[in-house]
Symmetry: C2
Subunit: 422 residues, 2 copies
């Protein structure tokens, strides 16, 4: 382990963090399980990318089979991208009928931004002040982690993210309208500054913002504001998509609004680097007329085979219904936990969290200790929220009721054993 | 075929070109061969991404094996990225000892730009006026195809690309110095405009510029100019790298200069979406301190297994020496072709071209007809150059002398049969 950390630092340089204070050396995965080099088994309650389960045999076989036959780009005709695309598009409403296949969610969001520019002829964007949509230069401008060299670009405006402890507008019911008011103000600023307004990029369940209790209808006032201003709704479905929200295939359908552009990330290929942008034909046309975009390995036969297998597994194994059922059961079980620092238990489908706070103040250090101790007890979780005080649970989709029971049981023990001032 | 084109247009939208007037429907690949749906076999003289040959069994097996065991991100420790990285870094000199693994060449170049910003604190970039380095928003600013929405960004300056028909400085021997003079002027402009100079991004063999006869030493005067101005040399090895130039593993070592940052693209994984940025530790440190960069699937175990297999195949099959030998033989054979429109035959290793012109005027249409007819005769080629008048040949690395003979023989016939005004 020490040796691996030293080799890693020598090879990758500084500031390449691992999860956990003592990192985990994972060597094998299957279904909802990961194993470390000592043979210890972990229940994976965190990794959404292995969407249909780690190393799902059907996806592995699809990749292996197609990789042995042909892997090339889309300047030649191939059945793979057509079959896959037609299956994918069936899952969408709102005239979202066309797609571009790329390799990463970052590439997808980078394209989505340009689609909004192409349609509107404007360059201004809005995102929340506690989000992350990817790592290209253009997309990382939407994040708030660190200022880019040369300073923050003027054409991106950040609006306050919805929050559960300190809701916008002073109360949870007031939050949807209050969020829309902030968006309207940012649009005005972009117009006054001469950039104009191209679009709002948003995750429909505000996953990176800590999933602050958004419910159907939450974004309706915001969507109205964006539409009236002539901008586009760029909907980042990298986390909620492919049935994770349980009630629907997509977060935007769960919330009940019509995006102009939807982006999909690597859960699409169960970890194989494939991602996509889905858009209305009028939006696609504007983009395709403005840019000569080509992605060498976007839509190659192997990526499409992996992605097709993922859709088939979701359907064959009833994973959307499972996310709905098991997600509800998880909320029920976790809400049964009693602890003075539990401020909220919330979630949708197989994406849920527990917020820790004392008198409205985030209990970050307690949350961190719980996460570490859960790992030591064989359960992998993450953290999210402005103060990293929310336990983040986002397991592979075959997660079942027995896994919830195990999670809830161990968590109850860890909560009992962990001092409140840990 | 008609049906596939209609489905493609319905699904992908307009302006998604295929190669050739009548596109090819490729269904299978092996070694240097591709097969279409009618069972016709094509000699692949174009696709560099299938670097060690289409569907190389060793790469396919590495992918299949690792995909069945584990595929997850680098926030956990894993041997794969370490073993691969250590093998890769061995191939580099110039203190290029650290790396970031990403998924595409575009992502790699997008990171390289930010490395130069982080080191210099400046934002200005230089590229040639006939290049392509990738498709992210930031990287596509270096390309010249179409203006971005909002206009060309002021912080990118384009210098005239080296050219074979109209060399900079008026003659081929004068070209290296003349290119450097243009770069020096652009640096001055960037400084006058207040951006300052961060770096020059360049392919060492000017692959997209039509490979205008660059030889060892070509970039020396330019490198001097860049160094004196405090900027970085960002060397895009997506095309020349991994031994394609024959004389060395990397284009910059063939030319004989020391880059600050090197980027690698999908030939690295024989088509599996894996790419990388290699840099000196001081450059990596500056980047890692300025940006919190994480790429979910960059460096995952499957990508690293694919990439490791590629290095092993290159070594086991002696593909760098093969590129050197067969490349020289190809030049010899192609120079034996006699045709009034052949203005130049040039290349390095397994990257070579034939330039068609009449009295110094590019013969674009003739070149296109030849490419189409070669395809009809079962040989896949591409075109490059400002006027698309240069036959571009960049076959998989196991290309042998027998394949050269076949190429030269069919090309001789097609040249004879094709009217000069075709």
């Amino acid at each position: 382990m020490t040796d691996m950390l030293a080799r890693r630092a020598a090879l990758l340089g500084p500031n390449v963090p691992t999860f956990y204070k003592t990192p985990v050396h994972i060597v094998r995965g299957a279904d909802v399980w990961l194993w470390d080099a000592d043979g210890r088994r972990y229940l994976d309650c965190y990794n959404n990318v292995a969407h249909v389960g780690h190393c799902h045999p059907k996806v592995v076989e699809a990749i292996a089979e197609q990789a042995a036959i042909l892997n090339t780009h889309t300047r030649y005709l191939h059945e793979g991208i057509l079959t896959y695309g037609e299956r994918l598009i069936e899952k969408f409403g709102h005239d979202l009928e066309q797609m571009i296949v790329v390799c990463t969610g970052s590439e997808a969001n980078d394209v989505a931004l340009r689609m909004a520019q192409a349609v509107t002829g404007k360059t201004g964007f809005i995102a929340t002040d506690n989000t992350y949509h990817g790592n290209t230069t253009a997309v990382s401008h939407l994040s708030t982690r660190r200022p880019p060299i040369g300073g923050w670009p003027d054409h991106v405006r950040r609006v306050p993210a919805p929050d559960s402890l300190e809701p916008l507008g002073g109360s949870l019911p007031a939050q949807p309208e209050a969020f829309a008011v902030h968006v309207a103000r940012a649009i005005e600023e972009l117009e006054d500054a001469g950039h104009g307004f191209a679009g709002l990029m948003v995750c429909p369940i505000f996953a990176n913002e800590g999933m602050p209790g958004v419910a159907p209808g939450f974004l309706d006032p915001t969507v109205d504001v964006v539409r009236r201003a002539g901008g586009l709704i760029l909907c980042d479905e990298v986390q909620p998509g492919f049935g994770r929200v349980g009630a629907a295939w997509w977060g935007h359908d769960y919330l009940g609004f019509a995006p102009d552009v939807v982006t999909l990330g690597k859960p699409m290929g169960n970890g194989h680097p494939v991602a996509a942008v889905v858009a209305r034909p009028d939006v696609m046309r504007a983009f395709r007329e403005a840019f000569g975009y080509f992605n060498t390995y976007g839509g190659n036969p192997v990526s499409c085979a992996a992605a097709l297998a993922v859709i088939e597994v979701i359907e064959e194994e009833g994973l959307v219904a499972n996310a709905h059922d098991v997600g509800a059961y998880a909320l029920e079980q976790l809400r049964g936990l009693s602890h003075p620092l539990i401020a909220d238990v919330r979630g949708v489908g197989l994406f849920f969290g527990i917020e820790f706070a004392r008198d409205g103040v985030p209990a970050s250090s307690f949350c961190e200790t719980v996460t570490e101790r859960m790992k030591d007890r064989g359960i992998l979780l993450g953290r999210v929220g402005r103060a990293q005080h929310i336990l983040k649970m986002r397991p592979p989709m075959p997660f079942g009721r027995a896994h919830v029971d195990m999670l809830a049981e161990v968590l109850a023990e860890v909560l009992k054993e962990t001092p409140e001032d840990a």
